[in-house]
Amino acid sequence: MTHLIIFLFFGALCLAGAVNLLVQRHPINSALSLVVVMGSLAVEYLLLGAEFVAAVQVIVYAGAVMVLFVFVIMLLNAGEEVRTKGSRVAMLFGIPGMLVGSALVGWVLIERTGSQTVAAGALPGAPRTIGWLLFHNFLLPFEVTSILVLIAIMGAVVLASHPDTDSGKKKS
């Protein structure tokens, strides 16, 4: 019972954050709502027994990644967004399509999984087992992520540096 109450409370918090992200006009408010979503999701992960995922969610996602967002919002001094007409086509086809799609998926999810329940901490995702899997069965993807991160670093350096550092002006 307490399990259900905790789920409902943080689920509602999570949804409130998501809706607030959509409604808020200032990007900084949206960013903070996203932090709320991520924080409450971490609690849901704990309920599902994924302790390590929950910890990483708070430290890496809500912590590091969101700090990056807030930093860029501040750096570019982003103001309130102006609600323009936008891409009408996207609104016209996108939103009905999204509604139909999500209704369909929702139906499939309920239909398929039925009323199968899960106790709190059903699948212990302790760091020890996670680490074993990560460096054993998933060793190759893990190593490939290092290439991915390398690309991200190179890309960020290339794109964010000033264009005038091109063509020999740097080493004058």
């Binding site: 369909l104 998926v105 499939v108 999810l109 239909e111 398929r112 999984t113 054993h136 069965n137 998933f138 060793l139 190759l140 993807p141 490939v144 992520t145 290439i147 991915l148 390398l150 690309i151 991200a152 190179m154 890309g155 350096v157 290339v158 794109l159 264009p163 550092t165 091109d166 063509s167 020999g168 740097k170 080493k171």
Partner: protein, 482 residues
């Protein structure tokens, strides 16, 4: 007894990727050390050696087929085919970039590194048999192409192209991931062979249908198939021309490889109507859109949407004919499109000023050889006999007919006729119209000449002697299915 470290032969199964990453890292380290002037040539040369070494590594690797890294990668005829295709495209694009980078005055160290690292992802996409690895490889290839698209940093349209590509690409990635999650929910595994076993049992869970649909949306974005093609013309117009040659062929070929694996090897349910609609829409929207374009890069972008449609026709066909047809098509499309964009990148000039049809007027007189080369590529894109494009279309449509897809074949053939119009328009402009203003003619550099020579040779080879490649493709398709 579970082994704790991979055995020696397993490293051979990722040897091309190791070679590419090593060369990429060497470029990264050397980039700040070498002198600015020699940077271009030296780093480009290292990248070229790296991609050629990767081709050699692939050939060596093909002697050791099998699974590696606890069922993560699988070396077979199929993966070898796409490894060679991707690394060859990278090599030709690097060759055609030397001159472009000099003309545009872009510091190119990271450029070559990103091409090599991107090629790592694309190679892995074709050999990965685990959705985790497929996802990481897909992202490796995508993120490097997002950055490459924005490489002309002084041009506002280049960063805009990069932004559009990035936003829509990440959006598509999220869809692909949701599909993977649903597939995992339906079968309880992320390994393609386990998924295939689970899906062979009837009844197929409804969740798997939803999963396949979402994954198809994500991959459809990556291969620019309609209705997920809206980004293509904008991104191709804004991105640097050699990069467009790269990203319209290599990541696409890799994404098609993933589609082939996911759709056929995992025995995916309900794929037919999904692909039918996407193929018909892509062919029609691509060809109709191309009719009115004045910018050559935009025109070729719409043409690439149409070609993605022809390729999807092969997916709708039966597996044993469709897979070799699709493989042949990716190879011949890569040959002609890389070549066409190499010509475009040469003619573009500083700041990419000369990219409209009017700038191509009188090219037949100004530089007859270049015009003749472009004509070969365009004829191949139409599908004229003696070029690779002809047999590509021929195999695809005959595979479709064997699967009784008469409607789709008729749509395809009609579209090919429409497509002939706008390709011929470029040829007519080149030979029949006088240049209105003086467009400076830059002599073709030896590296670009080599790139064009390779593309022409590949296009003609596939058009005159398609037997060996097709036979190889059929054999590896049979391997894939059993």
């Amino acid at each position: 007894m579970a082994q704790t470290i991979p055995q020696g032969v397993e490293y051979v199964r990722i040897l091309p990727e190791i070679v590419l990453s090593l060369f990429g890292m060497v470029i990264m380290v050397l980039d700040p050390l070498v002198d600015e002037r020699s940077t271009q040539k030296l780093l480009g040369l290292i990248a070229l050696i790296g991609s050629v070494a990767a081709i050699a590594a692939t050939l060596y690797q093909s002697q050791f087929p099998g699974l590696g890294f606890w069922g993560m990668v699988k070396v077979d005829g199929f993966s070898t085919f796409f490894h060679i295709l991707v690394t060859a495209i990278a090599a030709v694009v690097i060759l055609s970039s030397f001159e472009y980078m000099q003309v545009q005055q872009i510091r190119a160290g990271e450029y070559y590194g990103l091409i090599l690292f991107g090629a790592v992802g694309m190679c892995l996409m074709s050999s990965a048999v685990e959705l985790v690895l497929i996802f990481i490889a897909l992202e490796t290839s995508s993120i490097s192409t997002y950055v490459l698209a924005g490489f002309r940093r002084r041009a506002a349209i280049s960063s805009e192209a990069s932004l559009k590509y990035f936003l829509l690409g990440s959006f598509a990635t999220a869809f692909f991931l949701y599909g993977v999650a649903l597939m995992f929910g339906a079968t309880g595994s992320t390994s393609i062979s386990v998924i295939a076993q689970a899906l062979r049992l009837s009844p197929v869970p409804v969740l798997a249908y939803a999963g396949i649909a979402f994954m198809f949306v994500g991959l459809g974005f990556k291969v620019a198939a309609a209705p997920f093609h809206v980004w293509t013309p904008d991104v191709y117009e804004g991105a640097p021309a050699p990069v467009v040659g790269f990203m319209s062929t290599a990541p696409k070929a890799a994404a098609f490889a993933v589609l082939l694996r996911v759709m056929f090897e995992s025995n995916a349910p309900g794929r037919l109507w999904l692909i039918w609609v996407a193929a018909a829409l892509s062919m029609t929207l691509g060809n109709v859109g191309a009719l009115v374009q004045q910018n050559v890069k935009r025109l070729l972008a719409y043409s690439s949407i149409a070609h993605a449609g022809y390729l999807l026709v092969a997916f709708a066909a039966l597996a044993n004919n469709g897979i070799p047809a699709a493989m042949f098509y990716t190879a011949s499309y890569a040959a002609m499109n890389v070549g066409a964009f190499a010509v475009v990148s040469h003619l573009a000039g500083a700041g990419e000023r000369y990219v409209t049809l009017d700038d191509y007027a009188g090219l037949g007189r100004r530089s007859p050889l270049l015009a003749a080369t472009l004509t070969i590529f365009l004829l191949s894109l139409i599908g004229i006999p003696m070029t690779g494009g002809f047999f590509a279309k021929f195999y695809v449509f005959s595979a479709a007919l064997q699967a009784n897809l008469v409607g789709l074949t008729i749509i395809g053939v009609l579209n090919s006729a429409v497509g002939a119009y706008y390709y011929l328009r470029i040829i007519v402009v080149m030979y029949m119209r006088e240049a209105r203003e003086e467009v400076p003619a830059i002599p073709v550099s030896p590296a670009l000449g080599a790139a064009l020579g390779i593309s022409v040779a590949a296009t003609l080879y596939l058009g005159l002697l398609p037997g060996r490649v097709l036979e190889y493709a059929s054999r590896s398709a049979a391997e894939l299915l059993h």
